[in-house]
């Protein structure tokens, strides 16, 4: 097959992105086998993968679709808790850990995607600030509801209660999975770094292929000029919804991966702050730049571990970074200043804006 010039460029760019992830995996394995990996860093490996998937999937909504979602952690939460329920529910039937993990990830993705559809249909009729607020509200509702739900497994299957543990009526043989505000306890740690990397690669495969497909171009056309896109016959709702549901489903899978890395999971973990954290990854990595999201998510998850002394100032620094990145990339005068600053470092290279990946 002959590739056009842009096709070649894209192939190289995509290969770099995939290669980067595989290389990171191999590097970590080498460092680990020589015994140089600190235990705190080893504990961070799965969360890093989960956050990378979160960042890449949010970038699909923010960068490619051009809408702000402030409830991305809500989808993560849905995936996390449905994943936990599935993994514990299958404990007696399926012995193999990887199979249960796969089932948990799939169910997490499907449930989150389903809610993505439910939220997306009404929310995507709105634009800009309203959509951001609706997704924020959705995230809060999810957190609120999960905090009040009790789920257990008895001999006759899954039981759900909104009041307390006793009303589940499990008897002595049942196990309680979700204890309202106490969250899920006794979760099997099924997630591994290898599984995380595979999920990252699958996510990249889905997102990169979507972006470069006909649908992806349609989605970007909707982002760039809604009215023009509509006038050439692009169904706005359909493409917006496609992007939003895929983004939500990937966040759900990331949530399931994240949850199955810990023995206890609480709904509070997936609050507004988590949504903002992922947004920081996306903004810092470059809105619309998938590779940037991966690097930002990885670096910003590892860095706080290394700079424990500055932990108090970390959030403050994130806030300042968010503001500065927005100001320097959107204000004409500051934009010029930034380019002059960058030009000082690389003389001779042409000054041009990095466009969307």
């Amino acid at each position: 097959m002959k590739l056009t010039k842009t096709g070649q460029k894209r192939l190289v760019s995509n290969s770099i992105t995939y290669g980067m992830v595989v290389l990171a995996f191999i590097l970590v394995q080498i460092v680990d086998s020589t015994g140089h990996l600190t235990s705190s860093l080893r504990g961070q490996l799965v969360p890093i993968c989960a956050y990378i998937v979160m960042a890449v999937s949010l970038n699909l909504t923010v960068g490619v679709l051009g809408e702000l979602s402030l409830g991305h952690a809500g989808f993560m939460s849905l995936g996390a808790f449905s994943g936990v329920i599935v993994s514990l529910g299958l404990r007696d039937m399926v012995g193999a850990g990887p199979l249960r993990l796969l089932a948990a990830l799939l169910v997490g993705a499907v449930i989150a995607g389903l809610f993505g559809f439910v939220v997306g249909v009404p929310a995507l009729r709105l634009r800009g600030d309203y959509l951001a607020i609706v997704t924020l509200a959705f995230g809060e509702i999810i957190k609120n509801v999960i905090n009040t739900i009790y789920v257990g497994i008895g001999p006759d299957g899954l039981r759900v209660s909104m009041s307390d543990q006793a009303s589940l009526g499990l008897g002595e043989t049942g196990t309680v999975i979700l204890r309202g505000p106490m969250g899920a306890v006794g979760v099997d740690k099924l997630a591994s770094f290898g599984a995380g990397i595979i999920l990252v690669l699958i996510t990249l495969f889905i997102v990169l292929n979507l972006v470069h497909s006909r649908s992806g171009r349609a989605i970007m056309a909707v982002r760039d000029n809604r009215i023009a896109a509509e006038s050439v016959g692009i169904s706005i709702t359909r493409y917006k919804l496609t992007a939003f549901i895929i983004s939500a489903a990937l966040a759900g899978a990331a949530g399931a991966l994240y949850a199955l890395n810990y023995s206890t999971v609480v709904a509070r973990k997936f609050d507004f702050n988590t949504s903002i954290l992922v947004l920081v990854f996306v903004v810092l990595g470059g809105i619309g730049n998938i590779r940037g999201s991966i690097i930002a998510a990885a670096v910003l998850t590892v860095l706080p571990e290394m700079l424990r002394a500055f932990n108090d100032y970390r959030m403050l620094a994130y806030a300042i970074i968010l503001i500065l990145v927005m100001l320097t990339s959107n204000n004409d005068r500051l934009k010029q200043l930034r380019w002059r600053f960058i030009a000082r470092f690389r003389r001779g290279t042409p000054q041009q804006e990095v466009d969307h990946e």
């Binding site: 923010v62 051009g66 809408e67 702000l68 402030l70 009404p122 929310a123 009729r125 709105l126 800009g128 600030d129 309203y130 951001a132 607020i133 609706v134 924020l136 509200a137 959705f138 809060e140 509702i141 609120n144 509801v145 905090n147 009040t148 009215i227 507004f272 903002i276 947004l279 903004v283 108090d312 100032y313 959030m315 403050l316 994130y318 806030a319 300042i320 970074i321 968010l322 503001i323 927005m326 100001l327 990339s329 959107n330 204000n331 004409d332 005068r333 500051l334």
Partner: protein, 293 residues
């Protein structure tokens, strides 16, 4: 009697939401942006009043004035530094910046005052009102809150409809470019709007902390979001809309807590936001704006 006491606390909470929602709705009407940091200005107002009364020993009224002054300055500074450079930027960029400012304020407060909750002494130190032979007790804070809200809405309506600056605000919200051509200083008008909104946020912060006396860096976040819900409920950009939206939301929250579920009250409030946006995206009193290509 319990119904009446729920009604009073609903009205008082609703009044606080209404005062905050006024700030959102004015800024949205004029600058066409969602000032996400508004909720955190409330929190700063609360802390200012707390510092003035608890550490400096100032009288309550003086502490309120200090909070208003600090918040007004803060609001204008935020506008000048973070929002003004982005006047021509896409709304996504402005919104992310506003979230950044909100996050900045919360974490700055966290560093200054730590995450330990401070117990706030009410600024209203009057005995509570007992009606029907003591069957119904209305706290003085609730009463002052409702009265303050009514006074503010009357004052604001007067400013907007009768004064020169109010006229300028209406003109800018209608059409920025045309207002500029008529010799209105658009930037100054936007700054004044932020100043008024932030002063109102300070009052709301003090009243909120007087009614619910726990002060934390995240105190303002949730009321801020709920007040925005109220503003959307009433129709963003509309001042009477913010008032009625705030009152209704306060009543819904308190009655939802009392008769449906305590834990799910936030979920109820936010479900209403989603429902309103679905059925009537312009809110109860909002104007329908047709889109121009």
């Amino acid at each position: 009697m319990t119904f009446l006491s729920y009604l009073v606390s609903g009205l008082s909470l609703g009044s606080i939401y209404a005062i905050i929602a006024l700030g959102y709705t004015m800024v949205y009407g004029i600058a066409k942006m969602l000032n996400f940091a508004h909720g955190d200005v409330i929190m700063i107002g609360g802390y200012m009043s707390f510092v003035a009364t608890a550490h400096l020993g100032w009288p309550p009224l003086a502490s309120v004035l200090l909070a208003m002054l600090v918040c007004t300055v803060l609001g204008v500074v935020i506008e000048q530094l973070a929002y003004k450079p982005l006047r021509a930027a896409p709304s996504l960029a402005v919104l992310i910046t506003a979230i950044g400012v909100s996050y900045f304020l919360q974490n700055a407060a966290l560093l200054i005052w730590s995450s330990n909750p401070k117990s706030f002494t009410s600024v209203v130190r009057l005995p509570s009102l007992k009606l029907f032979d003591g069957q119904l007790t209305i706290s003085s804070v609730a009463l002052v809150t409702i009265l303050a809200c009514v006074a503010i809405i009357i004052g604001l309506t007067f400013i907007i409809s009768k004064t020169k600056i109010g006229k300028a605000m209406r003109a800018v919200s209608e059409d920025k470019a045309a207002a500029q051509l008529m010799g209105i200083n658009v930037n100054q008008t936007i700054s004044v709007t932020f100043a008024i909104g932030s002063a109102l946020a300070a009052i709301a912060g003090v009243l909120l902390c007087s009614a619910y006396p726990i002060l934390m860096p995240t105190t303002g976040a949730m009321p801020g979001i709920k007040a925005f819900t109220a503003a959307v409920f009433g129709g963003i950009g509309s001042i009477p809309g913010a008032f009625w939206g705030g009152l209704l939301l306060g009543l819904i929250e308190i009655f939802g807590k009392a008769y449906i579920s305590t834990q799910l009250s936030d979920a109820i409030v936010f479900s209403i936001l989603i429902l309103v946006l679905l059925v009537r995206p312009t809110g109860l009193m909002g104007r329908k704006i047709s889109e121009k290509v």
